[in-house]
Symmetry: D2
Subunit: 284 residues, 4 copies
């Protein structure tokens, strides 16, 4: 599926401010024919960095007092890997590649170490595999309200469980927490989401099953095969779209994504097994 | 039902220590023919106080360095009020006596203000009345593990919800939290519990329905009609059996309760509607 | 000092809503010649209740859908008791009246049980007495920022210690927490505060010293001898000015207090020892 | 300084258990002539992995029911880099290598995002550089009690700030939290610590200053130039010495480290600027 997408960020800089942006589409094998362009105004020097572990693309910019804007546009042909969910198995911890193990650990917003009993009680006796993670998503969808303003930048997955309301990053954090508590590696994914209304940076999660990362979204707000990936991380602490160091005021944000392949009909939302990350070989 | 009961507490006093004890059976109308005796060794002066709101009996003692013991024995004929649970209705907040309203408020170990959505999702659509509070107890019994050592003196009801394990005071705190979140006044009760094995000070909770306090116990470890009340409070902060101010080391505790009416067979555990507190008249 | 004061509350009632208001000036011996008037529109029936323990005056009103307003005006001559702070001693717990002991317990927003070491490290070695509680206020004033919007209705004293910012109720909760952790009974006071700018319901705290409750305010925003008391409680859970049960939208609030004795000059802010609560006799 | 060191771990395996161990001395340039040997009994297959980012050495072993032990011994000549603390400058965020930036982010046990105001109030106005991080260590040493049993595996740096007591990992987490809140990258280091009494796996922290990681220890229990590194991570979630997946019971642990260079006198504890990590070049 071909997409045109982009974002526009505005800031009013009070004192010199260093920004680290992560808004560019990731350079993955399944992001075919990616062409993109990132422009800042004023035209400051941009320092680029691609994280070796997760391929996130970071741009560092130093903004002087005054108006500062970032504009990003991209075109990409997203190829997804589909499978019959019934064939996607969970792995034993002993068979996980060692570089996947960090995604079993608790992190700032995902204190999965506190949820071992909770996760086992709700999901421990379900058949293992893709369907179990889908059951986690359904549980979240049915038990947590999507409510703007119900959480803030400090809210953890356990707090979401208590207050039973959150936004997309909270839904994803909770899904990750249950997965890790069950011994399934999981991580946060930021993306441009086709069909999301109103559009915004979206957050979903990936679970590692059968030697591959699979996409899941407890919010059910966008199709899994319409998610164009920006970054991945253990939780929201790692994949902010903008990390400013300095005194500035953020202005309005605009995000968009449209199909560019003459097939304007939106895809139906899907519960298929969908993977867009490059498969990782399992250690022998 | 007639009971003989008592407790024996031991302390090694390092520096002069003030104790406030709350171990005596409450002087309620339904505690018929109560005869009891509290002795401390050494034989220090005891200052007594009965709290006007809740009838808790406090004893204050000042212990000098050395061994210090408290021995308490009582005999009492416990008369319980029984009703058909189906007839015990919830009250509207507008009809609650104003002196009952404090039992709707959040307290140290019962942050019920954070659980409004949680309680509504789990229990909000159940038929109102005694059966709804019984449903809360069943939910707790099925979802929380009784596990010694899983909580400590700082553990709150929301932490119990996350870790899914606790002891009797935690089970009661959680029941109170859900009740308050649903607009049902609720409070903690400490008691001697016939049939509890091993015996210990027990904690259950009361909910205010139909103009009366009714007993509930999510642990299902003792019969509701075998609970001889010591104290009531908003939560465990208010009804410690012993509050020491000073440097001392607590020793072993012994608690016992037996039937004294020649009917030694234990009563079966019950889910009847049982009330032992004096009824309170509803304000006109 | 004579004051005229009042408040005006507005609500848009969506579904029938029960209110419990606590906005009336307390009927204390030192609130001389109190004359006041509370009117609701529409003119619904008002049920009144004075709590026996703390003299708080509650008004219960049932509001139908539509506009609903409460208007309150009062005149009062506030007599304060002053003392030389150096003469106001702390009491040993053994000498405290037993009905004062609940104010040593942790409560919803004041988990003083967690702060024993913190309080001892900061204030444990200071000379005991009124000056030690003043030192707590100075510490709060110097270490916590007064910042609107930095806390919400769920914020506890320990969270204030971490985030180092709060509003008047948070400053008071923290003062109460340190006092209780040191063995000094303390409680929250809501009041009309002469000189507060902009005016609002104010929250300060009282500590129990030398057989009497003394006023303290870590915000230093109003004179202690210009505080006309509404209610007292263990913490903010107990003295909300308005507790609604039902679906409604709160509108703007107006609060005012002026001198009415022809002596318009504001009093300077004071660090004197000031008490306005009726003295309580110490148990022999 | 030359050391002989090692550890012995014992487990009673109930059901087949997968272990991931991180007890081997890191293969750093400053760990000269490292010779070591790790043996498990029974002699199961060991899968080895060195994390590319931080050089931690992981060993994976699958243990069958019964007794299971790990024995590790090593000899190493530790070369430390020393500098005059006054010459070790803090860096501006804009000058940090991008692969260092993750160590500015909050993590499971280090919610540094909540401590921005706290850190600024205590340390924000101190001269920037090595001495500022030393001031953080001194503050921790003076304000936190080293108390075994005061924390558990779920305790965070903010909880340590409230309870004012912890063990070595808590001291390090708090130092890391203050550093990150001030914009200084920081991470946890596990090590064999010469002179620690009683010996145990020790945890200290590193701050990134002047293009290099420098060692700090708020416990002051061991000399900085006698720390032989095992692993580094964002916090304790990442560098457990043993991560078991399965049902087993840990037995006693033995750790030792001695000088092997004929210079048995212990080194005095030091507050010098000490670095043992390989320097990282600053991006142009």
């Amino acid at each position: 599926m071909k997409f045109k997408l982009g974002c526009a960020l505005q800031y009013k800089i009070v004192d010199e401010t260093l920004f680290i942006f992560n808004v560019e589409v990731a350079q993955l094998g399944r992001h075919i024919d990616l062409v993109d362009n990132l422009v800042c105004k004023p035209d400051v020097e941009l320092l680029r960095y691609v994280a070796p572990g997760n391929h996130n693309r970071y741009v560092r910019a130093l903004a002087e007092p005054g108006e500062f804007t970032l504009s990003y546009t991209a075109e990409v042909d997203l190829e997804v890997h589909r499978a019959d969910p019934a064939t996607v198995q969970e792995m034993n911890v002993r068979d996980l590649p060692l570089d996947i193990l960090p995604y079993l650990l608790p992190s700032r917003f995902v204190p999965s170490d506190r949820l071992a009993d909770y996760a086992y009680r709700e999901f421990g006796r379900l058949p293992r595999g893709h369907a179990r993670v889908s059951a986690i998503c359904s549980w979240i969808y049915q038990n947590i309200d999507y409510k703007r303003g119900s959480s803030d930048s400090e809210t953890t997955a356990t707090e979401i469980l208590i207050q039973r309301a959150g936004v997309c990053r909270d839904f994803a954090h909770l899904g990750i927490a249950f997965c890790r508590a069950l011994g399934i590696p999981a991580r946060l994914v930021s993306c441009y989401a086709f069909g999301l209304d109103p559009n915004d940076f979206h957050a979903v999660f990936e679970a590692y099953l059968d030697g591959r990362w699979w996409l899941f979204d407890g919010t059910r707000q966008a199709s899994l095969d319409g998610l164009v990936r920006i970054g991945v991380g253990r939780d929201a602490a790692e994949i902010a779209f903008s990390t400013p160091f300095g005194n500035m005021e953020p202005g309005p944000i605009r995000i968009w994504i449209d199909r560019s392949d003459g097939q304007p009909e939106p895809q139906p939302r899907t519960t298929d097994a969908i993977s867009t990350d490059t498969p990782v070989l399992v250690a022998a």
